[in-house]
Amino acid sequence: MLFLIKTLRALMRNPQGAIGTVLVFLLLLISVFGPFLAPQDPESFNFGSRFAPPSAEFLFGTDWFGRDLFSRILVGARSTVLLAILATFIGTASGALIGIFSGFVGGWVDELIMRTIDAIMAIPGLLLALMILTVLGSSSLNAVIAIGVAFAPGMARISRSTTLAVRELDYVSAARARGESKLWIIFSEILPNMVAPVIVEATIRVAFAIMTLATLSFLGLGAQPPSPEWGLMIADAREHMFRSPWPILAPGISIALVAIAFNLLGDGLRDVLNPHSQE
Protein backbone atom coordinates (compact mmCIF):
# COMPACT_ATOMS: atom_id res chain seq x y z
CA MET A 1 0.00 0.00 0.00
CA LEU A 2 2.79 2.37 0.99
CA PHE A 3 4.53 1.53 -2.27
CA LEU A 4 1.39 2.42 -4.19
CA ILE A 5 0.99 5.83 -2.52
CA LYS A 6 4.68 6.58 -2.98
CA THR A 7 4.54 5.69 -6.67
CA LEU A 8 1.42 7.76 -7.20
CA ARG A 9 2.97 10.78 -5.50
CA ALA A 10 6.10 10.50 -7.65
CA LEU A 11 3.94 10.09 -10.74
CA MET A 12 2.12 13.32 -9.97
CA ARG A 13 5.44 15.23 -10.00
CA ASN A 14 6.27 13.90 -13.45
CA PRO A 15 4.39 15.85 -16.17
CA GLN A 16 3.85 12.85 -18.47
CA GLY A 17 2.91 10.68 -15.53
CA ALA A 18 0.47 13.21 -14.09
CA ILE A 19 -1.44 13.70 -17.37
CA GLY A 20 -1.38 9.96 -18.05
CA THR A 21 -2.63 9.04 -14.57
CA VAL A 22 -5.51 11.51 -14.70
CA LEU A 23 -6.50 10.46 -18.24
CA VAL A 24 -6.34 6.73 -17.47
CA PHE A 25 -8.34 7.23 -14.26
CA LEU A 26 -11.05 9.09 -16.19
CA LEU A 27 -11.02 6.39 -18.86
CA LEU A 28 -11.48 3.62 -16.33
CA LEU A 29 -14.42 5.53 -14.84
CA ILE A 30 -15.94 5.90 -18.30
CA SER A 31 -15.35 2.24 -19.11
CA VAL A 32 -17.05 1.05 -15.95
CA PHE A 33 -19.87 3.58 -15.76
CA GLY A 34 -20.18 4.37 -19.50
CA PRO A 35 -23.65 2.84 -19.98
CA PHE A 36 -25.00 4.92 -17.08
CA LEU A 37 -23.38 8.14 -18.31
CA ALA A 38 -24.67 7.86 -21.87
CA PRO A 39 -27.23 10.60 -22.49
CA GLN A 40 -29.14 8.53 -25.07
CA ASP A 41 -29.80 4.92 -25.93
CA PRO A 42 -26.79 3.90 -28.11
CA GLU A 43 -28.98 1.68 -30.27
CA SER A 44 -31.98 3.97 -30.79
CA PHE A 45 -32.47 5.32 -34.33
CA ASN A 46 -33.22 9.00 -34.97
CA PHE A 47 -34.07 9.08 -38.65
CA GLY A 48 -34.82 12.78 -38.47
CA SER A 49 -31.17 13.57 -37.71
CA ARG A 50 -28.97 11.17 -39.68
CA PHE A 51 -25.33 12.26 -40.25
CA ALA A 52 -25.81 15.22 -37.87
CA PRO A 53 -22.64 17.19 -37.03
CA PRO A 54 -21.79 17.68 -33.34
CA SER A 55 -24.35 19.79 -31.51
CA ALA A 56 -25.67 20.27 -27.96
CA GLU A 57 -28.05 17.36 -28.45
CA PHE A 58 -25.53 15.03 -30.11
CA LEU A 59 -22.08 15.92 -28.71
CA PHE A 60 -20.12 13.92 -31.32
CA GLY A 61 -22.82 13.97 -34.02
CA THR A 62 -24.83 10.99 -35.28
CA ASP A 63 -24.28 8.08 -37.66
CA TRP A 64 -26.24 6.80 -40.68
CA PHE A 65 -29.10 5.55 -38.49
CA GLY A 66 -29.07 8.76 -36.49
CA ARG A 67 -27.63 6.93 -33.48
CA ASP A 68 -25.91 9.24 -30.98
CA LEU A 69 -22.15 8.76 -31.45
CA PHE A 70 -21.25 10.14 -28.00
CA SER A 71 -23.42 7.53 -26.28
CA ARG A 72 -22.04 4.77 -28.51
CA ILE A 73 -18.45 5.80 -27.67
CA LEU A 74 -19.24 5.79 -23.93
CA VAL A 75 -20.84 2.35 -24.09
CA GLY A 76 -18.16 1.00 -26.43
CA ALA A 77 -15.36 2.04 -24.07
CA ARG A 78 -16.09 -1.08 -22.08
CA SER A 79 -15.56 -3.48 -24.97
CA THR A 80 -12.44 -1.63 -26.11
CA VAL A 81 -10.59 -0.46 -22.99
CA LEU A 82 -11.52 -3.14 -20.45
CA LEU A 83 -10.96 -5.98 -22.92
CA ALA A 84 -7.58 -4.53 -23.90
CA ILE A 85 -6.59 -4.47 -20.22
CA LEU A 86 -7.78 -8.08 -19.89
CA ALA A 87 -5.71 -9.08 -22.95
CA THR A 88 -2.63 -7.41 -21.50
CA PHE A 89 -3.23 -9.11 -18.17
CA ILE A 90 -3.47 -12.54 -19.82
CA GLY A 91 -0.28 -11.91 -21.78
CA THR A 92 1.59 -10.50 -18.78
CA ALA A 93 0.59 -13.20 -16.31
CA SER A 94 1.23 -16.15 -18.61
CA GLY A 95 4.44 -14.58 -19.96
CA ALA A 96 5.73 -13.87 -16.46
CA LEU A 97 4.97 -17.43 -15.31
CA ILE A 98 6.74 -18.94 -18.32
CA GLY A 99 9.68 -16.56 -17.90
CA ILE A 100 10.13 -17.22 -14.18
CA PHE A 101 9.81 -20.97 -14.67
CA SER A 102 12.28 -20.95 -17.55
CA GLY A 103 14.82 -18.78 -15.74
CA PHE A 104 14.45 -20.60 -12.44
CA VAL A 105 14.74 -24.13 -13.82
CA GLY A 106 17.49 -23.32 -16.30
CA GLY A 107 19.34 -25.98 -18.28
CA TRP A 108 17.89 -27.58 -21.38
CA VAL A 109 14.29 -26.78 -20.37
CA ASP A 110 15.20 -23.09 -20.36
CA GLU A 111 16.98 -23.49 -23.70
CA LEU A 112 13.97 -25.23 -25.28
CA ILE A 113 11.48 -22.64 -24.00
CA MET A 114 13.61 -19.71 -25.10
CA ARG A 115 14.21 -21.09 -28.62
CA THR A 116 10.46 -21.69 -28.99
CA ILE A 117 9.86 -18.09 -27.90
CA ASP A 118 12.43 -16.90 -30.47
CA ALA A 119 10.50 -18.73 -33.19
CA ILE A 120 7.16 -17.29 -32.10
CA MET A 121 8.63 -13.80 -31.98
CA ALA A 122 9.93 -14.28 -35.52
CA ILE A 123 6.27 -13.98 -36.58
CA PRO A 124 5.05 -10.35 -36.72
CA GLY A 125 2.58 -9.68 -33.87
CA LEU A 126 -0.53 -8.92 -35.91
CA LEU A 127 0.09 -11.93 -38.16
CA LEU A 128 0.34 -14.21 -35.11
CA ALA A 129 -2.91 -12.80 -33.71
CA LEU A 130 -4.60 -13.35 -37.10
CA MET A 131 -3.47 -16.98 -37.16
CA ILE A 132 -4.70 -17.64 -33.64
CA LEU A 133 -8.06 -16.12 -34.59
CA THR A 134 -8.16 -18.38 -37.63
CA VAL A 135 -8.16 -21.34 -35.26
CA LEU A 136 -10.43 -19.90 -32.57
CA GLY A 137 -12.93 -18.12 -34.82
CA SER A 138 -13.94 -14.44 -34.73
CA SER A 139 -15.23 -12.94 -31.50
CA SER A 140 -14.22 -10.26 -29.00
CA LEU A 141 -13.10 -12.75 -26.41
CA ASN A 142 -11.06 -14.77 -28.91
CA ALA A 143 -9.38 -11.54 -30.04
CA VAL A 144 -8.49 -10.91 -26.39
CA ILE A 145 -6.96 -14.39 -26.12
CA ALA A 146 -5.08 -13.92 -29.41
CA ILE A 147 -3.56 -10.64 -28.23
CA GLY A 148 -2.69 -12.19 -24.87
CA VAL A 149 -0.90 -15.09 -26.55
CA ALA A 150 0.90 -12.72 -28.92
CA PHE A 151 2.11 -10.64 -25.94
CA ALA A 152 3.25 -13.55 -23.78
CA PRO A 153 6.64 -14.29 -25.45
CA GLY A 154 7.92 -10.72 -25.01
CA MET A 155 6.85 -10.71 -21.36
CA ALA A 156 8.45 -14.12 -20.84
CA ARG A 157 11.78 -12.74 -22.11
CA ILE A 158 11.66 -9.77 -19.74
CA SER A 159 10.70 -11.78 -16.67
CA ARG A 160 13.25 -14.48 -17.48
CA SER A 161 16.10 -11.98 -17.62
CA THR A 162 14.95 -10.42 -14.32
CA THR A 163 14.75 -13.89 -12.76
CA LEU A 164 18.25 -14.74 -13.93
CA ALA A 165 19.59 -11.48 -12.51
CA VAL A 166 17.86 -11.93 -9.17
CA ARG A 167 18.58 -15.66 -8.83
CA GLU A 168 22.27 -15.11 -8.29
CA LEU A 169 21.86 -12.39 -5.65
CA ASP A 170 22.99 -13.04 -2.10
CA TYR A 171 19.59 -12.90 -0.43
CA VAL A 172 18.25 -15.60 -2.75
CA SER A 173 21.24 -17.79 -1.99
CA ALA A 174 20.62 -17.07 1.68
CA ALA A 175 16.99 -18.13 1.36
CA ARG A 176 18.09 -21.29 -0.40
CA ALA A 177 20.65 -21.98 2.34
CA ARG A 178 17.90 -21.53 4.94
CA GLY A 179 16.14 -24.37 3.19
CA GLU A 180 13.16 -22.39 1.87
CA SER A 181 11.09 -24.16 -0.77
CA LYS A 182 11.42 -23.21 -4.43
CA LEU A 183 7.88 -21.88 -4.54
CA TRP A 184 8.54 -19.67 -1.49
CA ILE A 185 11.67 -18.27 -3.12
CA ILE A 186 9.81 -17.50 -6.32
CA PHE A 187 6.91 -15.77 -4.59
CA SER A 188 8.66 -13.81 -1.89
CA GLU A 189 12.09 -13.13 -3.40
CA ILE A 190 11.82 -13.14 -7.17
CA LEU A 191 8.28 -11.86 -7.90
CA PRO A 192 8.60 -8.59 -5.92
CA ASN A 193 11.71 -7.73 -7.92
CA MET A 194 9.89 -8.16 -11.19
CA VAL A 195 6.94 -5.97 -10.37
CA ALA A 196 8.46 -2.68 -11.55
CA PRO A 197 9.78 -3.68 -15.00
CA VAL A 198 6.72 -5.81 -15.71
CA ILE A 199 4.25 -3.05 -14.76
CA VAL A 200 6.03 -0.50 -16.94
CA GLU A 201 6.03 -2.89 -19.90
CA ALA A 202 2.41 -3.91 -19.30
CA THR A 203 1.14 -0.31 -19.21
CA ILE A 204 2.72 0.49 -22.57
CA ARG A 205 1.37 -2.83 -23.89
CA VAL A 206 -2.18 -1.79 -22.96
CA ALA A 207 -1.94 1.04 -25.49
CA PHE A 208 -0.78 -1.48 -28.03
CA ALA A 209 -3.51 -3.94 -27.06
CA ILE A 210 -6.18 -1.29 -27.57
CA MET A 211 -4.85 -0.51 -31.05
CA THR A 212 -4.57 -4.19 -31.96
CA LEU A 213 -8.00 -5.07 -30.59
CA ALA A 214 -9.58 -2.24 -32.57
CA THR A 215 -7.61 -3.34 -35.66
CA LEU A 216 -8.81 -6.94 -35.35
CA SER A 217 -12.41 -5.77 -34.98
CA PHE A 218 -11.92 -3.49 -37.97
CA LEU A 219 -10.75 -6.49 -40.00
CA GLY A 220 -13.95 -8.31 -38.98
CA LEU A 221 -12.18 -10.82 -36.74
CA GLY A 222 -12.95 -9.34 -33.32
CA ALA A 223 -16.17 -7.78 -32.04
CA GLN A 224 -19.23 -8.48 -34.19
CA PRO A 225 -22.01 -6.03 -35.13
CA PRO A 226 -23.98 -4.29 -33.66
CA SER A 227 -21.42 -3.95 -30.84
CA PRO A 228 -20.28 -0.33 -30.41
CA GLU A 229 -16.64 -1.50 -30.25
CA TRP A 230 -14.63 1.43 -31.62
CA GLY A 231 -12.75 -0.43 -34.37
CA LEU A 232 -15.94 -2.04 -35.57
CA MET A 233 -17.69 1.35 -35.55
CA ILE A 234 -15.08 2.63 -38.01
CA ALA A 235 -15.38 -0.48 -40.19
CA ASP A 236 -19.16 -0.02 -40.38
CA ALA A 237 -18.86 3.71 -40.99
CA ARG A 238 -16.67 3.22 -44.07
CA GLU A 239 -19.70 2.53 -46.22
CA HIS A 240 -20.93 6.05 -45.53
CA MET A 241 -17.57 7.78 -45.12
CA PHE A 242 -18.07 10.43 -47.80
CA ARG A 243 -21.45 11.46 -46.38
CA SER A 244 -20.12 12.54 -42.98
CA PRO A 245 -16.70 12.20 -41.34
CA TRP A 246 -18.05 12.17 -37.76
CA PRO A 247 -18.87 8.44 -37.50
CA ILE A 248 -15.17 7.81 -38.30
CA LEU A 249 -13.63 10.76 -36.44
CA ALA A 250 -15.36 10.09 -33.10
CA PRO A 251 -14.15 6.49 -32.57
CA GLY A 252 -10.83 7.18 -34.34
CA ILE A 253 -9.92 10.04 -32.03
CA SER A 254 -11.11 8.03 -29.03
CA ILE A 255 -8.78 5.14 -29.87
CA ALA A 256 -5.84 7.50 -30.33
CA LEU A 257 -6.59 9.37 -27.07
CA VAL A 258 -6.80 6.16 -25.05
CA ALA A 259 -3.54 4.90 -26.56
CA ILE A 260 -1.87 8.26 -25.79
CA ALA A 261 -3.14 8.12 -22.19
CA PHE A 262 -1.65 4.68 -21.57
CA ASN A 263 1.60 5.59 -23.36
CA LEU A 264 1.96 8.69 -21.15
CA LEU A 265 1.28 6.68 -18.00
CA GLY A 266 3.74 4.00 -19.09
CA ASP A 267 6.49 6.53 -19.83
CA GLY A 268 5.78 8.27 -16.51
CA LEU A 269 5.93 4.96 -14.63
CA ARG A 270 9.21 4.09 -16.30
CA ASP A 271 10.76 7.34 -15.09
CA VAL A 272 9.40 6.89 -11.58
CA LEU A 273 10.00 3.18 -11.03
CA ASN A 274 13.28 2.85 -12.84
CA PRO A 275 15.64 5.74 -12.03
CA HIS A 276 18.40 4.29 -14.23
CA SER A 277 16.60 4.84 -17.51
CA GLN A 278 15.66 8.42 -16.75
CA GLU A 279 16.62 10.73 -19.58
Binding site: D118, P124, G220
Partner: protein, 315 residues
Protein backbone atom coordinates in the same frame (compact mmCIF):
# COMPACT_ATOMS: atom_id res chain seq x y z
CA UNK B 1 32.89 -9.70 -40.56
CA UNK B 2 33.95 -13.15 -41.60
CA UNK B 3 32.49 -15.69 -43.97
CA UNK B 4 31.81 -18.03 -41.08
CA UNK B 5 29.61 -15.40 -39.40
CA UNK B 6 27.53 -15.03 -42.58
CA UNK B 7 27.19 -18.81 -42.84
CA UNK B 8 26.21 -19.01 -39.17
CA UNK B 9 23.51 -16.38 -39.67
CA UNK B 10 22.24 -18.19 -42.79
CA UNK B 11 21.94 -21.46 -40.86
CA UNK B 12 20.08 -19.58 -38.15
CA UNK B 13 17.73 -18.17 -40.82
CA UNK B 14 16.96 -21.65 -42.13
CA UNK B 15 16.36 -22.84 -38.55
CA UNK B 16 13.95 -19.95 -37.86
CA UNK B 17 12.14 -20.56 -41.16
CA UNK B 18 11.68 -24.24 -40.30
CA UNK B 19 10.28 -23.42 -36.85
CA UNK B 20 7.95 -20.79 -38.30
CA UNK B 21 6.76 -23.22 -40.97
CA UNK B 22 6.07 -25.76 -38.21
CA UNK B 23 4.01 -23.19 -36.29
CA UNK B 24 2.10 -22.16 -39.42
CA UNK B 25 1.38 -25.78 -40.28
CA UNK B 26 0.30 -26.69 -36.73
CA UNK B 27 -2.06 -23.73 -36.55
CA UNK B 28 -3.89 -24.84 -39.67
CA UNK B 29 -3.92 -28.43 -38.38
CA UNK B 30 -5.78 -27.27 -35.28
CA UNK B 31 -8.72 -26.05 -37.35
CA UNK B 32 -11.92 -27.92 -36.57
CA UNK B 33 -12.68 -28.71 -40.22
CA UNK B 34 -10.11 -30.20 -42.59
CA UNK B 35 -9.62 -29.48 -46.26
CA UNK B 36 -11.89 -32.32 -47.42
CA UNK B 37 -14.83 -30.95 -45.42
CA UNK B 38 -14.09 -27.48 -46.84
CA UNK B 39 -14.13 -28.73 -50.41
CA UNK B 40 -17.20 -30.97 -50.18
CA UNK B 41 -19.27 -28.77 -47.89
CA UNK B 42 -21.28 -29.71 -44.81
CA UNK B 43 -23.69 -32.08 -46.56
CA UNK B 44 -20.98 -34.41 -47.89
CA UNK B 45 -21.48 -38.13 -47.33
CA UNK B 46 -19.03 -40.02 -45.16
CA UNK B 47 -17.88 -42.18 -48.09
CA UNK B 48 -17.11 -39.13 -50.24
CA UNK B 49 -15.18 -37.58 -47.36
CA UNK B 50 -13.21 -40.78 -46.80
CA UNK B 51 -12.28 -41.01 -50.50
CA UNK B 52 -11.14 -37.38 -50.66
CA UNK B 53 -9.32 -37.70 -47.34
CA UNK B 54 -7.22 -40.56 -48.64
CA UNK B 55 -6.73 -38.83 -51.99
CA UNK B 56 -5.40 -35.68 -50.30
CA UNK B 57 -3.38 -37.75 -47.83
CA UNK B 58 -5.25 -36.33 -44.86
CA UNK B 59 -5.35 -39.74 -43.16
CA UNK B 60 -1.55 -39.82 -42.83
CA UNK B 61 0.08 -38.90 -39.51
CA UNK B 62 0.59 -35.15 -38.99
CA UNK B 63 4.37 -35.47 -39.24
CA UNK B 64 4.11 -37.12 -42.68
CA UNK B 65 1.67 -34.43 -43.85
CA UNK B 66 4.01 -31.69 -42.59
CA UNK B 67 7.04 -33.13 -44.37
CA UNK B 68 5.09 -33.58 -47.61
CA UNK B 69 3.75 -30.01 -47.39
CA UNK B 70 7.23 -28.65 -46.60
CA UNK B 71 8.75 -30.60 -49.50
CA UNK B 72 6.22 -29.09 -51.88
CA UNK B 73 6.67 -25.58 -50.45
CA UNK B 74 10.44 -25.76 -50.95
CA UNK B 75 9.76 -26.51 -54.62
CA UNK B 76 7.44 -23.50 -54.79
CA UNK B 77 4.24 -25.56 -54.75
CA UNK B 78 1.85 -24.18 -52.14
CA UNK B 79 -1.09 -26.33 -53.21
CA UNK B 80 -4.44 -25.40 -54.74
CA UNK B 81 -6.60 -22.63 -53.30
CA UNK B 82 -9.82 -24.02 -51.82
CA UNK B 83 -11.61 -20.80 -52.73
CA UNK B 84 -10.58 -20.21 -56.34
CA UNK B 85 -9.26 -23.67 -57.30
CA UNK B 86 -6.19 -21.93 -58.72
CA UNK B 87 -2.61 -22.80 -57.74
CA UNK B 88 -1.67 -20.75 -54.67
CA UNK B 89 2.01 -20.23 -55.58
CA UNK B 90 1.64 -17.84 -58.56
CA UNK B 91 -1.22 -15.92 -56.87
CA UNK B 92 0.76 -15.32 -53.71
CA UNK B 93 3.95 -14.42 -55.62
CA UNK B 94 2.10 -11.78 -57.66
CA UNK B 95 0.50 -10.42 -54.50
CA UNK B 96 3.89 -10.44 -52.78
CA UNK B 97 5.40 -8.30 -55.53
CA UNK B 98 2.68 -5.67 -55.07
CA UNK B 99 3.00 -5.70 -51.27
CA UNK B 100 6.77 -5.40 -51.60
CA UNK B 101 6.30 -2.20 -53.63
CA UNK B 102 4.29 -0.71 -50.73
CA UNK B 103 6.67 -1.92 -48.03
CA UNK B 104 9.95 -0.97 -49.71
CA UNK B 105 8.74 2.46 -50.84
CA UNK B 106 7.50 3.25 -47.33
CA UNK B 107 10.68 1.98 -45.71
CA UNK B 108 12.86 4.13 -48.00
CA UNK B 109 10.73 7.22 -47.33
CA UNK B 110 10.86 6.54 -43.59
CA UNK B 111 14.66 6.35 -43.62
CA UNK B 112 14.86 9.61 -45.55
CA UNK B 113 12.43 11.42 -43.23
CA UNK B 114 12.73 9.83 -39.79
CA UNK B 115 16.51 9.85 -39.37
CA UNK B 116 17.02 13.62 -39.99
CA UNK B 117 13.92 14.34 -37.89
CA UNK B 118 15.24 12.36 -34.94
CA UNK B 119 18.66 14.00 -35.25
CA UNK B 120 17.06 17.45 -35.41
CA UNK B 121 14.95 16.78 -32.31
CA UNK B 122 17.91 15.40 -30.34
CA UNK B 123 20.15 18.34 -31.24
CA UNK B 124 17.54 20.86 -30.08
CA UNK B 125 16.60 19.00 -26.93
CA UNK B 126 13.93 20.79 -24.91
CA UNK B 127 13.50 23.52 -27.56
CA UNK B 128 10.24 24.05 -29.49
CA UNK B 129 11.48 21.98 -32.47
CA UNK B 130 12.10 19.00 -30.21
CA UNK B 131 8.76 19.34 -28.44
CA UNK B 132 6.98 19.68 -31.78
CA UNK B 133 8.60 16.57 -33.26
CA UNK B 134 8.04 14.63 -30.04
CA UNK B 135 4.38 15.62 -29.81
CA UNK B 136 3.63 14.71 -33.42
CA UNK B 137 5.42 11.38 -33.11
CA UNK B 138 3.58 10.66 -29.86
CA UNK B 139 0.28 11.08 -31.69
CA UNK B 140 1.58 9.04 -34.63
CA UNK B 141 2.60 6.16 -32.36
CA UNK B 142 -0.86 6.14 -30.75
CA UNK B 143 -2.79 6.07 -34.02
CA UNK B 144 -3.55 2.61 -35.43
CA UNK B 145 -2.90 2.30 -39.18
CA UNK B 146 -6.53 1.64 -40.02
CA UNK B 147 -7.69 4.87 -38.34
CA UNK B 148 -5.08 7.00 -40.10
CA UNK B 149 -5.72 5.25 -43.43
CA UNK B 150 -9.47 5.76 -43.19
CA UNK B 151 -9.06 9.42 -42.22
CA UNK B 152 -6.67 10.02 -45.14
CA UNK B 153 -9.17 8.27 -47.39
CA UNK B 154 -12.02 10.51 -46.24
CA UNK B 155 -9.87 13.61 -46.52
CA UNK B 156 -7.88 13.06 -49.75
CA UNK B 157 -9.93 10.61 -51.79
CA UNK B 158 -13.43 12.01 -51.43
CA UNK B 159 -15.30 12.05 -54.76
CA UNK B 160 -15.76 15.84 -54.59
CA UNK B 161 -11.99 16.38 -54.32
CA UNK B 162 -10.95 13.39 -56.42
CA UNK B 163 -7.24 13.81 -55.63
CA UNK B 164 -6.50 10.10 -55.23
CA UNK B 165 -8.35 6.90 -56.08
CA UNK B 166 -10.02 5.37 -53.01
CA UNK B 167 -8.99 1.82 -53.81
CA UNK B 168 -7.43 -0.62 -56.22
CA UNK B 169 -4.15 -1.04 -58.03
CA UNK B 170 -2.65 -0.44 -61.48
CA UNK B 171 0.63 -2.17 -62.49
CA UNK B 172 3.59 0.18 -62.96
CA UNK B 173 4.30 -1.39 -66.37
CA UNK B 174 0.87 -0.33 -67.66
CA UNK B 175 0.42 3.18 -66.38
CA UNK B 176 3.23 4.72 -64.33
CA UNK B 177 1.34 7.77 -63.05
CA UNK B 178 -1.78 5.77 -62.38
CA UNK B 179 0.23 3.26 -60.40
CA UNK B 180 1.88 6.04 -58.41
CA UNK B 181 -1.55 7.50 -57.74
CA UNK B 182 -2.83 4.20 -56.42
CA UNK B 183 0.04 3.51 -54.05
CA UNK B 184 0.22 7.13 -52.77
CA UNK B 185 -2.27 6.89 -49.90
CA UNK B 186 -1.26 3.40 -48.64
CA UNK B 187 2.40 4.44 -48.70
CA UNK B 188 1.59 7.75 -46.99
CA UNK B 189 -0.20 5.92 -44.15
CA UNK B 190 2.63 3.45 -43.59
CA UNK B 191 5.24 6.21 -43.81
CA UNK B 192 3.55 8.43 -41.23
CA UNK B 193 3.07 5.64 -38.67
CA UNK B 194 6.56 4.25 -39.11
CA UNK B 195 8.20 7.68 -39.11
CA UNK B 196 6.60 8.40 -35.75
CA UNK B 197 8.03 5.14 -34.36
CA UNK B 198 11.49 5.44 -35.77
CA UNK B 199 12.10 9.16 -35.25
CA UNK B 200 11.30 8.64 -31.54
CA UNK B 201 13.87 5.87 -31.32
CA UNK B 202 16.51 7.80 -33.26
CA UNK B 203 15.95 10.82 -31.03
CA UNK B 204 16.60 8.88 -27.84
CA UNK B 205 19.64 7.09 -29.36
CA UNK B 206 21.07 10.42 -30.53
CA UNK B 207 20.36 12.07 -27.17
CA UNK B 208 22.39 9.31 -25.49
CA UNK B 209 25.24 9.62 -27.99
CA UNK B 210 25.39 13.40 -27.63
CA UNK B 211 26.07 12.95 -23.90
CA UNK B 212 29.23 10.92 -24.58
CA UNK B 213 32.76 12.13 -23.97
CA UNK B 214 33.98 11.94 -27.55
CA UNK B 215 31.28 14.38 -28.65
CA UNK B 216 32.32 16.89 -26.02
CA UNK B 217 35.94 16.32 -27.03
CA UNK B 218 35.01 17.10 -30.63
CA UNK B 219 33.29 20.32 -29.61
CA UNK B 220 36.24 21.32 -27.44
CA UNK B 221 38.61 20.71 -30.33
CA UNK B 222 36.71 23.45 -32.10
CA UNK B 223 34.89 21.34 -34.68
CA UNK B 224 31.70 22.90 -36.02
CA UNK B 225 28.44 21.84 -34.46
CA UNK B 226 27.17 20.37 -37.72
CA UNK B 227 30.33 18.35 -38.24
CA UNK B 228 30.14 16.90 -34.75
CA UNK B 229 26.45 16.14 -35.19
CA UNK B 230 26.57 14.43 -38.58
CA UNK B 231 30.11 13.04 -38.80
CA UNK B 232 30.51 11.84 -35.22
CA UNK B 233 27.19 11.50 -33.44
CA UNK B 234 25.00 10.25 -36.31
CA UNK B 235 27.49 7.57 -37.32
CA UNK B 236 27.41 6.14 -33.83
CA UNK B 237 23.64 6.26 -33.68
CA UNK B 238 23.23 4.57 -37.06
CA UNK B 239 23.99 1.11 -35.66
CA UNK B 240 21.15 1.00 -33.13
CA UNK B 241 18.98 2.68 -35.77
CA UNK B 242 19.48 -0.28 -38.10
CA UNK B 243 18.29 -2.66 -35.38
CA UNK B 244 15.29 -0.47 -34.61
CA UNK B 245 14.29 -0.25 -38.27
CA UNK B 246 14.66 -4.01 -38.75
CA UNK B 247 12.45 -4.71 -35.74
CA UNK B 248 9.93 -2.23 -37.07
CA UNK B 249 9.64 -4.31 -40.24
CA UNK B 250 7.43 -6.51 -38.04
CA UNK B 251 5.10 -3.55 -37.47
CA UNK B 252 5.38 -2.63 -41.12
CA UNK B 253 4.13 -6.10 -42.14
CA UNK B 254 1.15 -5.72 -39.81
CA UNK B 255 0.58 -2.26 -41.28
CA UNK B 256 0.70 -3.61 -44.82
CA UNK B 257 -2.06 -6.12 -44.00
CA UNK B 258 -4.30 -3.37 -42.62
CA UNK B 259 -3.57 -0.78 -45.28
CA UNK B 260 -4.19 -3.25 -48.12
CA UNK B 261 -7.55 -4.06 -46.57
CA UNK B 262 -8.51 -0.38 -46.25
CA UNK B 263 -7.48 0.56 -49.80
CA UNK B 264 -8.53 -2.76 -51.40
CA UNK B 265 -4.94 -3.17 -52.59
CA UNK B 266 -4.40 -6.70 -54.00
CA UNK B 267 -1.33 -7.72 -51.98
CA UNK B 268 -0.44 -10.57 -49.62
CA UNK B 269 -2.27 -8.95 -46.70
CA UNK B 270 -5.56 -8.77 -48.53
CA UNK B 271 -5.14 -12.33 -49.81
CA UNK B 272 -4.49 -13.47 -46.25
CA UNK B 273 -7.56 -11.75 -44.78
CA UNK B 274 -9.68 -13.10 -47.64
CA UNK B 275 -8.27 -16.58 -47.04
CA UNK B 276 -8.96 -16.39 -43.29
CA UNK B 277 -12.54 -15.29 -43.92
CA UNK B 278 -13.02 -18.23 -46.32
CA UNK B 279 -10.92 -20.73 -44.34
CA UNK B 280 -8.78 -21.24 -47.44
CA UNK B 281 -6.06 -23.33 -45.73
CA UNK B 282 -3.33 -23.47 -48.43
CA UNK B 283 -3.63 -19.71 -48.99
CA UNK B 284 -3.44 -18.98 -45.24
CA UNK B 285 -0.33 -21.12 -44.96
CA UNK B 286 1.34 -19.50 -47.97
CA UNK B 287 0.47 -15.94 -46.94
CA UNK B 288 1.63 -16.37 -43.34
CA UNK B 289 4.79 -18.14 -44.38
CA UNK B 290 5.81 -15.56 -46.98
CA UNK B 291 5.26 -12.70 -44.51
CA UNK B 292 7.17 -14.36 -41.68
CA UNK B 293 9.96 -15.20 -44.14
CA UNK B 294 10.24 -11.55 -45.24
CA UNK B 295 10.55 -10.51 -41.61
CA UNK B 296 13.29 -13.09 -41.03
CA UNK B 297 15.18 -11.94 -44.14
CA UNK B 298 14.89 -8.28 -43.05
CA UNK B 299 16.42 -9.19 -39.69
CA UNK B 300 19.19 -11.14 -41.40
CA UNK B 301 20.02 -8.17 -43.65
CA UNK B 302 20.04 -5.85 -40.62
CA UNK B 303 22.44 -8.16 -38.76
CA UNK B 304 24.75 -8.36 -41.76
CA UNK B 305 24.67 -4.58 -42.21
CA UNK B 306 25.42 -4.18 -38.52
CA UNK B 307 28.36 -6.51 -38.80
CA UNK B 308 29.70 -4.75 -41.87
CA UNK B 309 29.37 -1.26 -40.39
CA UNK B 310 30.56 -1.86 -36.85
CA UNK B 311 34.33 -2.13 -37.00
CA UNK B 312 34.57 -2.71 -33.26
CA UNK B 313 32.84 -6.07 -33.33
CA UNK B 314 34.80 -9.02 -34.69
CA UNK B 315 32.59 -11.95 -35.54
Amino acid sequence: MTVSYVIKRLIYLVFTALLVSLIVFSVTQLLPANAATMILGEYATDEALAILNSKLGLDDPAAVQYLRWLGNVVQGDFGISLRTSQPVGPTILNAFGRSAILAVTSLLLVCIIAIPLGVLAASRRGKPTDLGVSLVSYIGVSMPEFVLATLLLVWLASPSLGLFPASGYVPFSEDFWGALHHIALPVLTLTIVLTAHISRMIRSEMADTLEMDFIRAGRLRGLSKRRVLFRHALRNSMLPAITVIALDVGYLIGGVIVVEEVFAFPGVGRQLILAIQNRDLPMIQAGALIMAASYAVANLLADLAYGALDKRIKY
